[in-house]
Amino acid sequence: MAIIRTENVTKGFGGLIAVNRVSVDIHPEQLTSIIGPNGAGKSTFFNIITGFFKPDEGRIFFRDEDITGLPIHQIVRKGISRSFQILNIFEESTVWDNVWVAVQGSLGYGKELLGRVEKLAGVEEETSRIIAEMGLEYEGGSQVKYLSYGEKRLLEIALALTTRPKILLLDEPMSGLPADERRRISAYIKQIAQAVTVVVVEHDMDVVMAISDRILVMYEGRILASGTPAEVRQDVRVQEAYLGAMP
């Protein structure tokens, strides 16, 4: 059974059709990458799946349950989580507070109008654990804005993971990072993929070829091709439309 299935999902902006009748299955046991040139519709596709946009047409299923049009928080609660192409964290807070509020939500707290934060069972332990896992123990009390860009990216992925997703969608998690930080993140993604279904949008072909079980190629809002890294590499249409376009 596919963990995510889309049927003829379509989304236009004015005259432009950003995502055009896309029907795909995401298999739970595979690490899937979505590639394609700028403007192909990859981010828009993520935005539709996660409820940021309602599709103009088509339906989205999560484990055979129709989730089309559900509000974001409900989609998240079902087990779909994401990171954004443009970093999306609590920039003005400390690392500790970022993770805390995420963990608090995932443990079902937040409605305690007069409760005491210190008394929430398990939140503190879980927060410490996640921060330690990221290797940011010594940065817990510092403002997020003092972290390196790679650490911020890492933090965003960690935040997305606190909701205990079944599937995690990562939109260009390595863009703008130097090589060593890319390696750190791609290793982290491989590790996450052991437990959670991961879908990555990424431009770095070396990374994509290395980590993916399956690749979807998007072009002008459509799925042009799909297959294993080797298959996609061989595909003539892909070479023409995408790889060929690169110098």
Binding site: T94, W96, G110, K111, L114, R116, G140, G141
Partner: protein
């Protein structure tokens, strides 16, 4: 690991008071007010400051902690005022009951408006809050038989309050001052608890990055609605107390000027950076208003100027500026 500073108690006052909870310090200062030379004589001024402090503290749950700028909360103050007045004139002379009814009626209106505005963003949110408050003002102004229209409702009177076997004559302005202060102190504790609770954490997350809060699984619209309604309840309680201060209720209580004033107080004092900002703002604002309007016919000009100066030069308000100065001083 260094943990968040935000669970630590906020220390608004340095030195002498360090070991006392800042809320207690605030209440002690207010309690001493009638004994202060010169201004201590103006008890109704003091009572008004406490009422507006209550209104502004509650309002700051929405403005300072959730990051939503309502320009219409004067309406809930005014509706609360009317609710208490109408309850007194038509239902019961019990102060408790009238305060309760005023608070609930104002809160109910806030809850209903909140349903419509909670999912709106930025300027649309603010404009809608103004639109609703203007609508309520218009209704209050025109609905003669219920609200007294232009002349308002008069003939309200503070009854003697029975506390166990103690009878407190609230007609005495000092007694009413301390009654209002007691209600305020209780509410301040509640508001403190709210903003420092798990719920309060979510509000701050929404203020900082609503989209991320949503993607952490929080139903942010429900939280925003709750913040709107809660601040409306405190506004309405403030309005109800005000009715018994002036022993009457008028439509001007709902006017947009009231809404603007509470925004002004909250920002002036530093509500975006400190829990106590709104109280400092209310105290300074109400006192200045009384002083200025006594000596200058065009005091509103000063008021406008003050607003401009605050927005331009001290966006974090008085307490924000004070904190910055202290930091500089320390190194």
């Amino acid at each position: 690991m260094i943990k968040s500073q935000s669970t630590a108690k906020q220390r608004a006052f340095p030195g002498l008071f360090r070991s006392i909870h800042p809320l207690a310090v605030m209440v002690i200062i207010f309690a001493a007010f009638p004994a202060i030379p010169l201004i201590g004589r103006f008890l109704s001024l003091g009572t008004e400051v406490v009422i507006w402090s209550l209104f502004a503290l509650g309002f700051n749950i929405l403005l300072g902690y959730t990051g939503l700028t309502s320009f219409g909360h004067g309406a809930y103050f005014g509706i609360g005022a009317y609710g208490a007045a109408i309850a007194f004139l038509r239902l019961s002379h019990s102060l408790w009951l009238c305060l309760l009814i005023g608070t609930l009626v104002g809160g109910l209106f806030a809850a209903l408006v909140g349903l419509i505005v909670a999912n709106k963003r930025g300027i649309y949110f603010s404009l809608l809050t103004i639109a609703f408050s203007q609508m309520f003002f218009f209704i209050a102004f025109r609905w003669d038989e219920f609200t007294g229209g232009e002349t308002g409702l008069t003939g309200i009177d503070r009854q003697t309050l029975k506390l166990v076997n103690l009878a407190v004559n609230l007609r005495n302005p000092i007694a009413y001052y301390y009654f209002v202060l007691a209600v305020f102190a209780l509410c301040a504790v509640i508001i403190w608890r709210i903003v420092h609770s798990p719920f309060g954490r979510v509000l701050r997350a929404i203020k900082e990055n609503e989209l991320r809060a949503k993607y952490l699984g929080y139903n942010t619209e429900a939280y925003k609605w709750a913040a709107f309604t809660i601040s409306g309840l405190f506004a309405a309680l403030g309005g109800s107390l005000y009715t018994f201060l002036i022993n009457s209720a008028y439509a001007f209580g709902l006017e947009w000027v009231q809404s603007g004033n509470v925004v002004m107080m909250t920002l002036l004092g530093g509500g975006t950076v400190s829990f106590f900002g709104p109280v400092v703002g209310a105290a300074i604002f109400i006192t200045c208003r009384d002083l200025l309007s006594a000596y200058f016919e065009h005091w509103l000009l000063f008021y406008g100027l003050l607003f401009v100066i605050v927005i331009l030069y001290v966006p974090t308000g008085i307490l924000g500026a004070a904190a910055k100065l202290r930091k500089k001083h320390k190194g």
